[in-house]
């Protein structure tokens, strides 16, 4: 691959990314490259530093060392919101919705930013009604069209996750970071969300943390395995799942192949 296309090809790159908590190294010199258009999964045992790594990417934590390059630009020291506006958007391990707003308003809150009127405290709410069509479209994508006017607290867990995804999609992210998108879901929900992610990945890149290997194996193009803050394997599923070090660190007993606890 010619050098000049590298930044086109690699949407996100970290170099020597490190996070220490008072002497404890949670993320240790991680060099990760995420290719544009991939669904890239990050796996590893509990406490490996996955969430910490995500927090570094989205600026919820400041790295101790190392750099983060997004489309070739150094974004290491940007503020969280700035990063989000660049198109790098995350979802949360625990469900992240605005509970006392309607489902529609949740999505609208994300769309609203595009209007550039978010500081206009003198404009009426009706100035936002123009966003409703797009919001309903997004809700339809995740199967929530019938719940638009429902108060979000009242949604069941799985639907909240779906809503969260719709909200994230509203930002037209180029790179989506999903932290355990299927956690806490029943089996039907898991497969639905898996399909959703697959669908959402069209035209964008996804980096996700996921413990459920069924999900990972079915949709991930590439897998990085983290252990004690360092990368121990990186590559396509088929390759990584046979890596003995991964089997030892993540799965344990060598008689099984890479498989989640589920």
């Amino acid at each position: 691959m010619p050098e000049k296309h590298l930044s086109e090809e690699i949407i996100l790159e970290t170099r020597g990314l490190t996070k220490e908590f008072k002497g404890f190294v949670a993320v240790n010199g991680v060099d990760l490259k995420v290719r544009r258009g991939d669904i890239h999964a990050l796996i590893g045992p509990n406490g490996a530093g996955k969430t910490t790594f995500f927090n570094l990417l989205t600026k919820f934590l400041l790295p101790t060392r190392g750099t983060i390059l997004y489309r070739g630009t150094d974004i290491t020291h940007e503020k969280p919101a700035q990063t989000a506006r660049r198109g790098l958007v995350r979802s949360f391990q625990i469900s992240a919705v605005f509970p006392h707003m309607t489902v529609l308003e949740n999505v609208r809150a994300a769309l609203q930013r595009g209007l550039g009127t978010t500081f206009h405290f003198w404009k009426p709410e009706s100035s936002l009604y123009g966003l409703h069509d797009r919001a309903r479209q997004l809700l339809a994508q995740v199967g929530l069209q019938d719940f638009a006017d429902e108060l979000t607290v009242n949604l069941p867990y799985g639907r909240k996750r779906a809503l969260e995804l719709a909200t994230t999609l509203a930002l037209e992210p180029e790179l989506m970071l999903l932290d355990e998108p299927t956690q806490g879901m029943g089996h039907e929900d898991v497969s639905r969300v898996t399909q959703l992610i697959k669908k959402a990945s069209e035209g964008r890149t996804i980096l996700m943390v996921e413990h459920n290997m069924n999900v990972v194996s079915s949709i991930a193009d590439r897998i990085t395995v983290l252990q004690r803050g360092t990368i121990i394997a990186d590559g396509p599923y088929a390759e990584v799942s046979k890596n003995p070090q991964v089997i030892e660190a993540y799965m344990g007993s060598a008689d099984t192949e890479l498989q989640g606890a589920h």
């Binding site: 969280p80 992240a96 707003m101």
Partner: protein, 337 residues
Amino acid sequence: MQRSVVLLYAVLVLAGLVAPWLDIYPVYLMTLYSFAIFACAFNLLLGFGGMLSFGHAAYFGLGAYTTSWLVTAQHWGTLPAILAGMAVAALAGVVIGGLAIRRSGIYLTMITLALGQLVYFVCLQAPFTGGENGIQGVPRGTLLGLLPLRPDMTMYYFVFALLVLVFLGIRRIVSSPFGQVLKAIRENEPRAISLGYDVNRYKLMVFVLSAAIAGLGGSLKALVLGFATLTDVMQGNSGEVILMTLLGGAGTFLGPVVGAGVVVTLQDVLSDRVGSWVTVIIGCVFVACVLAFRKGIVGEFLAWRARRSVRAQAGGSADTPAGEAAPAAGEAAVSSR
């Protein structure tokens, strides 16, 4: 807005228009309205911004001092002096808010408290505030050089009009695009950040708006009563505005107005009869509010109405045991993280 709400507002405005003809002491009503504006401003921050400030007297007091000083010592017109009062209060909001929003929750509260005290000491020592004496004999002046405000009646309608304006203004702010973002931040701050909102700027903005409106309340109070003193900037005043808002119902529109009405009336009626027990009674109301009455008068009323309509719909099947009732809207409004 619902029909019933519009109707209620119409009735209230009508009542406000005829009130001075009903042998109610207009100075009392004007004081009440000034504090109602103050409480509305405070509620904007607490009820809709999710931030509890314990130093709001600073903005109220700065508004009062600025306006008083400008009309008394600099002979400014009434309206420019009021606007300047709001501007100074807003500026203080920028500084104090800018520091306070570096933390959240009770930390924010303690910081505003301490910085409010700082403003108090500055007002105590600054040359133009008159120290312990305050600024006395502040003239009301004329409105735009036309309408003299000296008579209580004209002043009354001026203050009343401003109260209505502030009230509608806050309704508008809350439902505006800005208000929507604010709500999202209050509901789930990390999520709002991840949607690309620089939440501190919105928090600061609402802080400043609240400070400016509180400053308006202070300016009007100074003009109505003719003085600005340290009482305006004192911690006790910050406590009172909290009480007004909490008692009326934080996060409701009418709550602060009702709360201001109750507290000002209480003080007016009680101070002659019970002397220093006023503080005790205010303290008891505080305790009662926190323990048993967290939604406030208006909030409890709304909740009662909501319960009634739910029961009407569902035929009354509640299988949660007592004591685990739904979190109140008011509580949700107060909790900020």
